[in-house]
């Protein structure tokens, strides 16, 4: 263990005291978005407390990924509000400014379904790009931190490799490290294991679970119900552009109140 590697892995803001729910880190109110005639999000409300994990489930085309992307400004909603932490509130209804979108991106980091690593940069460069180029932190300091993060996901010896030389599971772990290195308040995962070969899914889910145990605040769009039940503090089921049901994972996934949730969960558990 090198000195200082502890703070590297700690989520910013630290852990909430055991048994005590943290203050809300993410508050989403009335998010609405249409693409042309198609209303993708009707009115999405979400809440996540510090150190908690929200799993978002729902059929394809339900708007769950769009909702997640709105939290990072990759989609700009037409209406609604997103608050991250105590001081940032972005109200999209009046049109958000560039500075507000930038602030949103500064506080959240996303892990993509297709990894989206920069293919012309090495693993280490992929991780450094945000902290050094955008956040203007000293390269030497960030490098130490990045190598530490890579070591922790078992990829320190691959730091000079290019993404094409890595397996899907390794690429996604780099994707996660790239997000962590930005020191976000909020980690966003967009179906992080959906493009992985089945035998590689476990590694990535295991890593995400570790991060959850360490107290990172996360929103995870996923189809892995078992994982959601084990890791999430709360599950939201989105369908037709709105949150149909949300609550404790055991309740939503085992004993859903809504018929639509029940049907969806059944279909995933018994595909044929």
């Amino acid at each position: 263990m090198s000195p200082g590697d502890h703070d590297v892995l700690e989520p910013p803001g630290g852990h909430p005291a055991p048994g005590e729910p943290g203050e809300p880190v993410l508050v989403v109110d009335g998010l609405g978005k249409r693409f042309g005639d198609h209303e993708v999000l009707r009115s999405v409300d979400l809440r996540v407390r510090r150190g908690q994990v929200l799993a978002v489930i729902g059929p394809s085309g339900s708007g769950k990924t769009t909702a997640l992307r709105c939290l990072n400004g990759l989609e700009i909603p037409d209406t609604g509000r997103v608050a991250v932490g105590s001081e940032l509130v972005v109200d999209f209804s009046g049109g958000a400014s560039r500075a507000e979108i930038a602030a949103l991106r500064d506080r959240s980091a996303m892990v993509f379904q297709h990894y989206n690593l920069f293919p012309h940069k090495t693993v280490l460069e992929n991780v450094l790009e945000g902290p050094v180029v955008v956040q203007r932190r000293p390269r030497a300091e960030v490098t130490v931190e990045a190598v530490e993060l890579l070591r922790r996901v078992g990829l320190a010896d691959r730091k000079d490799a290019y993404p094409f030389e890595l397996s899907g599971g390794q690429q996604q772990r780099v994707g996660i490290v790239r997000a962590l290195a930005l020191r976000p308040t909020l980690l966003l995962f967009d179906e992080p294991t959906s493009s992985l070969d089945p035998e590689l899914v476990g590694d990535v889910l295991g890593l995400i679970k570790e991060l959850a145990d360490e107290g990172w605040t996360m929103v995870i769009v996923t189809h892995e119900l078992q994982f959601a039940r084990e890791v999430a503090h709360e599950v939201a089921f989105i369908d037709g552009g709105t949150v149909v049901e949300h609550g404790h994972p055991d309740q939503v996934l085992r004993d859903p109140r809504e018929e639509r949730t029940r049907q969806f969960v059944q279909r995933l558990l018994h595909p044929f």
């Binding site: 400004g73 990759l74 980091a109 989206n116 920069f118 012309h120 790009e129 945000g130 955008v134």
Partner: protein, 222 residues
């Protein structure tokens, strides 16, 4: 081969080589460099959502590609003086060739930028980059790799097209050939020699293209 022919070939070689070194090659290099700058600007304008940027870019490409290079050269060198704009042969050629390359290469660069997956833009924005930074650090380097083969084509075409500059009195390889041919009457020998010289230049360029491609391909699976 008769001794006289051999003698003609050797005595004409240096004037032609000089024409290539002081005319053809610098003309091609300067015009291509300027052309690439024009092309990048035009490509970005064409990709813009703002009509007032994309429309003129589209018109530019249309005019450049829709008119012969020789006509463009003549308009600039022989046409412009009639409205009071007199430009020397060399700069005239540079302007015409740059404008021409700008039109063709703009389309290459535009297609190359579009070939970079949307997820790259998104990942760049996710780490906090502005549009301009994402373009410079993430998208253009990847677009560059894709555009090397078609841009090499454009460059090689340009090298050969510089022979048109002989018609506006620029001293380059082909003008030297023409002058010696007219003087000696040995058209076949001298024009074949000129052709051979162009070919050699293009062979060197093709080799350069291969090396550049290899270097830019180091980060993709083969």
């Amino acid at each position: 081969m008769s001794p006289e022919t051999l003698e003609l070939l050797t005595s004409s070689f240096w004037p032609m080589a000089r024409g290539a070194i002081t005319g053809t090659i610098p003309l091609a290099l300067v015009s291509f460099s300027l052309g690439l700058v024009i092309a990048l600007v035009v490509a970005l304008m064409r990709l813009s959502k703002r009509r007032w940027l994309s429309r003129p870019a589209r018109a530019y490409v249309s005019v450049v590609r829709g008119t012969p290079l020789l006509v463009q050269l003549f308009v600039i060198f022989y046409g412009l003086p009639s409205i009071g704009v007199v430009i020397d042969p060399w700069p005239s050629a540079v302007v015409a060739f740059s404008v021409n390359v700008g039109g063709y290469a703009a389309e290459v660069i535009r297609a190359a930028i579009l070939s970079v997956p949307k997820g790259q833009w998104e990942a760049a924005h996710m780490v906090g980059m502005s549009h301009a930074v994402a373009l410079r650090r993430i998208v253009l380097p990847q677009a560059a790799r894709v555009s090397v083969p078609p841009l090499s084509n454009t460059f090689i075409s340009l090298v050969k097209d510089t022979s048109l500059a002989s018609l506006i009195l620029v001293t380059e390889l082909f003008r030297e050939a023409q002058q010696i041919a007219a003087f000696s009457g040995q058209f076949m020998v001298l024009y074949l020699e000129a052709a051979a010289l162009y070919w050699v230049i293009c062979l060197v360029l093709s080799a350069g293209q291969s090396r550049l491609e290899q270097r830019l391909d180091r980060y993709v699976a083969r």
